[in-house]
Symmetry: C2
Subunit: 325 residues, 2 copies
DNA sequence: CTGTTAGCGCGTTCAT
DNA sequence: ATGAACGCGCTAACAG
């Protein structure tokens, strides 16, 4: 391994001078700068970031914890975060927590032990107590975390109400809801919104559990439709489950949207891969990732504020699983 | 930040002793061990992995470069790799290269600068010249890299021929192929296999370009089917494009599999999310990830061999886009 | 069984 | 404008 010493020897200067040209600070004569740069190239020298981090306590790395990389919602987020951080010379490392608290804690520990400069987390399971002795900046993304942790989210409750109201406007009389896991706050809010909207319209709530899971959602809806054949609309708690709902309809040979309307939530690509394409509440996923990353970088630079909570709007994308007006 | 010195002072021993209990090596009296462990807990001490890496030149971190995290093929690989490496106390950091050479090189550099212990890469663009002065162990996954770089792959050519042969067996007379990008070796091999199999059966090749992309593949196939309405089968270069093909069929109101059979390649979950479910050549994705990770750990421990090339078989999964016999 | 000490590679005072 | 020297937190001889 070639170190700063080797470069210094090669260029016939001291390590301090090499360090100066490396970091582009302090005075250094043009001639010596050229000499040093020549030596660096010649020896193919790469600064050792570990040593640098040890001294600076900064690594130019940030971590991004996502709960489930197989959910197509996240890859888009990843790309957005990378785009922002790379531009600022940071390396982003992705950590897949598998919705598993132990893994999340393991990653948080590893990040601290490695002087990671900051983290973006998407998590339900993590509590404030887990991060309050974490001494690096954190931004919560997609899921609200705590007043004291800045976040980038959408207004799940109101946006979900909009979705249900839209279905009612389009003439659905008996709308069912496929809910996600209760322990995921977003999922609970969407369910509550559905229930409230139905109640205010004097309509009964019909709910089955899809667990944010395609197959489970398909099965749950089939059972539900057998029980209540008059259901004419399904509001799914996320797009993955909406895809499951579509499969259920296809299994039961129901025509979508004539016999059954379906509305999803999230705006992931899957909704466009199926036929008919699914109407959904689209989140500005890329934009959200970008915003979270920008906030994190500001926090790292000490410029950010620590109780910033950005809430984005969603957009209703009318496609083929709901009737045209 | 609480350091090993603080622990030593608190426990009234030397830093060396603390280091010994930390690393569980060398002799240390039971009583002192207890004392030290108490101090560690009391002060909430976490060893600084940066300092440790600086000395050891090992970080207990490995990197995993994937070309496109939005392709559902990769998340499964990620999970497999994580499962293996976590068990061995390694932290796996994911790097999304976006099929972009510059990003790949950036990540490789970052890995070296941070004493990452090894890397798994899925790449087409990276050449031997880019990694031959990388001094950490590397394993190529999914895509063959070079004789000197151990790899875990499947036999794209022969497995693709099997797929085409299967379609011929099931009575397809005019089979078209949706190919992926030429610069991806796997994609080229699958195309060649198609062409060879067709030629040997005295059949003409009909090829359109789907670019491994859903929408492009849908559009390309629609155009092709307009031109050649007698096509009765489509072999897609991967599952993503097979999903696109299914959408194209639906747009043109073709019945699948009666009017048109479709066979994909990879075995990703998407093929089961659509209706009808897609027949595909399933790769043992999880198994492949596991194998690659295991190989990498062996290499890191100096136990591995550097020209190990594991080739897995695929499995034909007969579903609903091909006719039953 | 335990403590002292010398680096790992780098960045930064403080002199010059 | 440049160099000498110290220290970041930790591990591994070596000595006792």
């Amino acid at each position: 391994m070639v170190t700063i010493k080797d470069v210094a020897r090669e260029a016939q200067v001291s390590v301090a001078t090499v360090s100066r040209v490396l970091n582009n600070q302090g005075y250094v004569h043009e001639d010596t700068r050229v000499k040093v740069e020549g030596a660096i190239k010649h020896l193919q020298y790469r600064p050792n970031n570990v040593a640098r981090s040890l001294f600076k306590k900064r690594s130019k790395m940030i971590g991004f914890i996502v709960p489930d990389i197989t959910n197509p919602y996240f890859p888009q987020l990843v790309r957005a975060v990378e785009d922002v951080t790379n531009k600022a010379q940071y390396t982003t490392f992705l950590c897949n927590s598998d919705e598993n608290l132990k893994k999340e804690l393991m990653y948080l520990e590893s990040m601290q032990e490695n002087h990671i400069d900051g983290a973006i987390i998407v998590s339900n399971t993590l509590q404030l107590q887990h991060v309050d002795n974490v001494n690096i900046p954190i931004v919560a993304l997609d899921r609200f975390f705590h007043d004291r942790i800045p976040s980038v989210t959408i207004d799940n409750y109101n946006e979900a109400r909009k979705a249900v109201r839209y279905m009612l406007d389009r003439g659905c009389k008996r709308i069912a809801h496929i809910k996600g896991p209760e322990y995921i706050e977003n999922s609970k809010l969407r369910q509550m919104a559905y229930e409230d909207e139905m109640r205010e319209n004097m309509l009964p709530s019909i709910i089955c559990n899809g667990e944010y899971h395609l197959k489970k959602s398909e099965k749950a809806l089939i059972d539900l439709l057998m029980l209540y054949p008059t259901i004419d609309g399904v509001f799914a708690g996320n797009d993955v489950m909406a895809v499951g709902a579509l499969k259920a309809a296809s299994r039961l040979e129901l025509k979508v949207p004539d016999d059954l309307s379906i509305v999803g939530f999230d705006g992931i690509e899957w909704t466009e891969t199926v036929s008919p394409e699914i109407t959904t509440m689209e989140q500005p996923i890329y934009e959200m990732g970008k915003r979270a990353a920008t906030m994190l970088l500001e926090l790292i630079d000490g410029k950010g504020i620590n109780d910033d909570h950005v809430v984005y709007d969603t957009k209703l994308i009318e496609r083929e699983t709901t009737k045209k007006q």
